[in-house]
Symmetry: none
Subunit: 402 residues, 2 copies
């Protein structure tokens, strides 16, 4: 879907759109002939809604492609994830709720082990604990100052850390220093465009000082860096779709992605009930409400089929409260599939329903993977096409041509 086309057609009105994401909702039967978690869950409210909605399945990125959470959400927000790619550094910052500013350069790094010649012997420094990682990032923060740039070093998890450079005239066009193999030295930071020379020099200084600071440590006596990147300058939801948007989510990752497209992001909730209260409180102030349910995905990742079923059922019980707000458009879907059978994200299409007064209901009467195949949206709608359909159902798109 072409963002420019939509942008040209957008008009504003008072309608309200809710996007209810059950993260990783799609699944697989545990055994041949069985049901998926969504199919097994008792979901009278979702089924009744599906019967009044247009249904289908969406494909997050492309055929066969298993998406990470970032691209998967961007697609559902209307941003083609193959076009709107964001660096690992920026995503890592979002993931730990680091308040990245425009112009900052972020990179994700590993602590690693090098021998006396500086050759990497372990790319993950024996997978040191998060506590050890925190000790090391604290040390680096205290010991490294470089004139002309502000430096942030934060632990992500275990051996993974975040480096952020803040200052004037920085560029994210820096090649990674991680050779992604043992037996060689880390690469020196190298500019990928002339405008990045200054930044590359600063990174080399940082790495040199880090080597000195970490020299006495074991096993994490060196570090590497990947995914140098800056906050993208994408059209916001307001700019692209004319929507004042709010993102309601419990985890930094999803709040981070919401921010990337210009959503307001209130303080993190700690339960779906709390999220629902935030939705209700903010009802009059926004046009578009991204409501994120995390635990369907976590249950899938843990291989806990029954837990996934029960979380879906819980969301089903909360659905009447969402409907009571009388949204003009309600979308229920996931960002991707997370089959408990696979304990991971997967490439499988994601059940989807779009309800509005003006949707064209199909023959689908339950909300499930197989039922939705026969839906009016088809079995493989590109995720980024959900947004124009939502806008259309909200009467927020002008007629094309005369």
């Amino acid at each position: 879907m072409n963002l420019n086309l939509i942008r040209q057609q957008v008009k504003r009105n008072d309608s309200k759109i809710i996007l209810l994401i059950m993260d990783g909702i799609g699944g697989l039967p545990l055994a041949p002939g069985g049901l998926t978690a969504l199919e097994q869950a008792q979901t009278p409210n979702l089924d009744a809604l599906a019967a009044r909605s247009v249904c289908g399945l969406h494909e997050p990125v492309a055929r066969g492609i298993t998406p990470g959470s970032g691209p998967a959400h961007l697609g559902v927000f209307g941003y083609d994830p193959l076009k709107y790619q964001v660096g690992r550094g920026v995503l890592a910052a979002g993931g730990i709720n680091f308040d990245l500013q425009p112009g900052d350069v972020a990179a994700r790094g590993n602590f690693c082990t090098v021998d006396e010649n500086g050759v990497i012997t372990d790319r993950r420094a024996g997978r040191i604990s998060t506590e050890k990682g925190q000790e090391l990032t604290k040390l680096l923060r205290e010991k490294i100052q470089i004139p002309g740039v502000e430096i942030f070093v934060e632990t992500v998890k275990e051996y993974r850390y975040l480096l952020v450079l803040r200052g004037e005239g920085l560029s994210g066009e820096i090649a990674e220093t991680d050779p992604q193999q043992v037996g060689v030295k880390p690469y020196p930071a190298r500019a990928l465009e002339p405008a990045a020379e200054k930044t590359a020099g600063l990174v080399r200084q940082f790495v040199h000082r880090a080597g000195e600071v970490l020299a006495a440590q074991s096993p994490a006596n060196m570090l590497t860096l990947r995914g140098f990147s800056q906050l993208p300058t994408w059209p916001t939801m307001e700019e692209a779709f004319g929507l004042r948007a709010i993102g309601i989510a419990m985890y930094p990752m999803y709040r981070g992605v919401a921010k990337l497209v210009g959503m307001d992001v209130p303080p993190a909730s700690h339960s779906v009930e709390e999220e629902l209260a935030v939705l209700e409180e903010n009802w009059s102030d926004y046009d578009y409400f991204f409501f994120h349910v995390k635990r369907t995905d976590s249950a899938g990742e843990d291989g806990n089929f029954d837990l996934k079923v029960s979380i879906i059922e819980k969301v089903d019980r909360l659905l009447p409260r969402i409907l009571a707000l009388q949204p003009d458009v309600l979308i229920v879907t996931g960002d991707h599939s997370t089959p408990a059978k696979m304990k991971s994200h997967s490439w499988h299409p994601v059940p989807l329903l779009i309800w509005s007064e003006r949707c064209r209901p199909d023959l689908v009467e339950t909300f499930g993977e197989r039922a939705c195949i026969a839906g009016g949206l088809g079995p493989r709608l590109p995720a980024a096409d959900i947004m124009p359909l939502a806008l259309a159902n909200a009467l927020r798109l002008n007629k094309f041509g005369a």
Copy 2:
């Protein structure tokens, strides 16, 4: 599907993928209200497999486009046939099993009839027989030598022949000499780029000499040339998909297309049973097995509906031996449709099933054109999207983004 995207995500593992192509499998009912050959065939094994698989139909090239065998196979192999086009000369070489080498320039030509002024009066020289064609190509081989280049002239069929130039610094960028109408002279061979001037000169010499050699013949007293081309330098299956691939087929055309994408091609089998033995013998040495069944297409081309039915039933009886190999992914489809009713290739979508432990079975319970419409892959999957789905099901694609 973007080959570069897939290429970036590919990882290797020990999984095995079988692509079982029943050439021209798709069909039409002979009379309104009837069944297609695939629907009429008794296929208990295929039906049982379909019930455990994700089904659909694929579209070989584009809506309404009837593909030749080359593009149809390239699509199913994962190469968008609109992007990966191969010249007629190269295809003709593959079709007669001519061992084309990198750098060779191949062209397909017609013997034609010209009047005393050199003006074409019959573009096909009265459709001379294959025997006559062989006599003429033999004559040309014997009589024409051009310094600095090796020349091969081979009969394709009837009035159609293959010209191959072998030497240093040749280019396939030569405009065709066939004006595709009577009443005009053949065009002189003309270079389409400066680097092709040498080759154009050689072709002009060949055509001039051929005119002399053929002058006494009737009705085939001249020749034209089309489809100048060289072996393409496409990413191989190994490069694009990380797959060590083998192509098992009885006919030169399919073996030729398999070679174009870098498959190993063992000596031709002479029956499906022999092909099956080749599959079993090579099981441990490859990741991807293209298994080609020709006779479904031939039966369709001959308008022999019942024969097509019986060949499908025969393949169905062999399916357990294929399943006994325990592939990780099994794809069953055709390269295109060949309805017996039309006695030709057609544009109709092609029944398709993809089975793996991790496919998401839909509600399709038999393998047939109409049943597959309701499948999870949808009724019009681009053929080139089969490969990423196969790779995904084989767990051979990394996650996209974080």
